[in-house]
Amino acid sequence: MSLELQVGIIVGYLVLALVIGLLAYRLTERTAEDFYLASRTVGTIVLLFTTFATLLSAFTFFAGPNLAYLHGPEWLLVMGVMDGLIFAILWYVIGYKQWLLGQQRDYVTLGEMLGDRFGSRRLRGLVAGFSLLWLFPYVMLQQVGAGTALEALTEGAIPFAAGAGLITVFMILYVVIAGFRGIAWTDTLQGAFMLVTTWVALAWVLAIVGGPSAATGTLQAAAGEHLALGSDYYTPQFMLSTAITIGFGVAMFPQVNQRFFVAGSKEVLKRSFALWPILCLLLFLPAFMLGAWARGLETGIDPVAIQEGGNVLPLILAEFTPTWFAALVIAGAMAAMMSSSDSMLLSGSSYFTRDLYRPYVDASITDRREDLIARIGVVVFALATFGASLYNPATLFELGDAAFSGFAQLALPVIVALYWRETTRAGITVGIVGSQVFYLSSVFLPMVPRAFGGWSAGLLGMGLGLLLTVGVSWLTASAPAEEQAIYFEGLEAD
């Protein structure tokens, strides 16, 4: 009975997402700009929630509460600073400028924006290439996560490959049919759903254990050290390295960066900017406090099992709430996973068609044809990551795991280019390649350490990228094809 109920809730949810995609389809125009960016017409609520749901993957739901359970609620501070503050400021610093440039010059991808300014097809291809290198394994990991979660939830009734395949097919369907508009609408549903279910879950558990003071009291008895700020795990270096690299990395993740282009007006951006920190807080506080409090509650959960890859949130819900509600929250986690992956598929496909296929294979492509190739790109990308997820090769796993820091390497060269007129093509190219090579070698080469004095290699790589971009720009002259004025002159607001 409960198995059927759980599967029913999840399939029902998938069908609902598909219906929303079909509704959105009725509004689509057959152009690449509409498919990728909903023709830059997105309003405040949809922009807020689509960014929110895209940014937060299954990680918020599973790994976040796990960390709070194992090491204490400091994870709330790390995520709050990373997403609520650093990302918000980058949304202005990078995002608003990108939005203005996109309005003016019809850019759809980051690579296009950089390639145009620096008069360089190679730079455009390079940015797309490095982005796809990190994006592909990250999408694969999301499929691995979905397959594993469904298999665990149904106690093997839906095997891994079938679960991951089911999610992949649904995503392909509504992304190919409705493009960005469909994704943004389902994201809005998914984001709201995540918020509501998390608060209800928290209220439910607290009502049973007797409120926050009682829950904190039992945590004090079980693991009192979790209530003091900082620990051997949460060192200042770890907290800052993580918040900074992931915060900057998120802004360069294709599916988030592309959202910088989609706002319908400046007012939409202003309102989203102001509401953003509170929206983050509203999700992080209940999700991570629930994980932290779970440590002190009388449950059958064994910390060793969580350490070894179990998830605390489904376990605590199973303990305190009825099956249908626990299944709803798992569907919420699935929603988080899908709302990130579908956007990644679309952005991955746009980076491929705009920045690799068009410049290198067929420059004379029509809008209509690009729209078709973009859709084919989504299918190919999704099937390829699904295929890889069945094998989950170690190299791809490591790449996916390191993706946030990998994307973070792009952020500072891009910011320098956006704000410093003297940036040269050689400077930004060396900055991007140098920091990527350094960071990749820290992931794969044993002789390059992953941390230096507690500071992560990702953070140091960012510093290296900054130094190289500024230093090489300073030493070189701009190439004849560069158009320095693009980022600085005539940026009108309306």
């Binding site: 503050l85 700020l229 102001a274 953003w276 002159e489």
Partner: protein, 89 residues
């Protein structure tokens, strides 16, 4: 915008992010209303962030990005007009 003003905005933003973690409460485990005091600090800080971002969006939106002349056009044109008018009289 001169470089001093630009440095001011950058340093201000960095400090604001940094203070999302109450470093001065390091090791502190005071509980207030069922939650550690440092959690309350963070909650308050993010609410403050929303308020400040709203203020920024109202008053300074475009700083460092849009050309100064565009952003301040109403104020400065008005001033210039007044000066000219005064001279004619």
């Amino acid at each position: 915008m001169d470089s001093l003003e630009r440095v001011g905005w950058v340093v201000g933003a960095a400090l604001f992010c940094l203070l999302g973690v109450p470093w001065f409460l390091w090791g502190d485990d005071t509980i207030v209303a069922g939650l550690p005091l440092w959690v309350w600090w963070h909650v308050g800080w993010l609410i403050l962030a929303s308020a400040l971002f709203w203020l920024f969006a109202q008053r300074h939106w475009g700083v460092g990005i849009e050309p100064e002349t565009d952003r301040d056009s109403t104020a400065s044109e008005g001033d210039a007009f007044r000066t000219d008018g005064g001279g004619a009289q």
